[in-house]
């Protein structure tokens, strides 16, 4: 009779261990998924960090390039201020002067 009770108990134990084993497998799969997600998350965070660093670098380059634009425009402004009048206009002025001298003579 004790053997029968032991057999019954053993069957219950086997069923419980089977269930536990199944659950452990599922838990292992979940842990693997978590691990994969964490790895992907880390990689994405690194990629984001790299992209932000590149964006900052590009912005600094933009600022530098705009400084160069401003400097070049300043030089252009100075050159335009110093630009002599058109030769045709000067020629006109000379001709007017010559005509005035001729009239006065």
């Amino acid at each position: 009779m004790a053997a029968a009770v032991e057999l019954e108990g053993s069957r219950r134990l086997i069923a419980a261990l089977d269930g536990e084993n199944e659950q452990l497998k599922e838990r292992l799969e979940t842990e693997k998924r978590i691990s994969a997600l964490l790895a992907e998350l880390t990689a994405t965070q690194k990629a984001e960090s790299d992209a932000l660093r590149s964006a900052v670098k590009a912005k600094n380059e933009t600022i530098d390039a705009k400084d160069v634009v401003i400097a070049a425009q300043d030089k252009l402004v100075v050159a335009l201020k110093l630009k002599p009048p058109s030769p045709w206009r000067r020629l006109g002025d000379i001709l007017i002067g010559a005509a005035a001298i001729a009239i006065l003579k």
Binding site: E6, L13, I34, L41, D64, L76, R90
Partner: protein, 133 residues
Amino acid sequence: MIKNLTTQTKIYIVIAAGFIALIAGAAAWSNYRIRSLENRVESAKRSADRSQQAAVQKEAEAETHRQKIAYLERLLGETEQLARKQDEKLEKLNSDSRRARGDVDRARRTRAVPAGAVELCEKLADLGHPCTR
């Protein structure tokens, strides 16, 4: 006609021609310099535009990564919640196993008591092993 001109007039013409050439040369040099400066300004503008486009592109890339991170974090949260539930279930199953093992150990330690054949057959039948005769 040139032969009829006096030396003085010729000198005047030469001076005037030289003066005109000087003015034209100065104007040409000035135009060249201004064009060169304008080209430099345009080149610098193009360079600035390129850098700005690169910055915008990198920011868009960073935004995409930010969205992906948010999605992954949400997914991770859900998975961790599932893991917690599985742990709770596992704890319960573990407790069941311990209890079953305890039952088996107890049954093993139990002293064998004499039982009647009928009683034994009934018990075996309950377990799915009925007596054949």
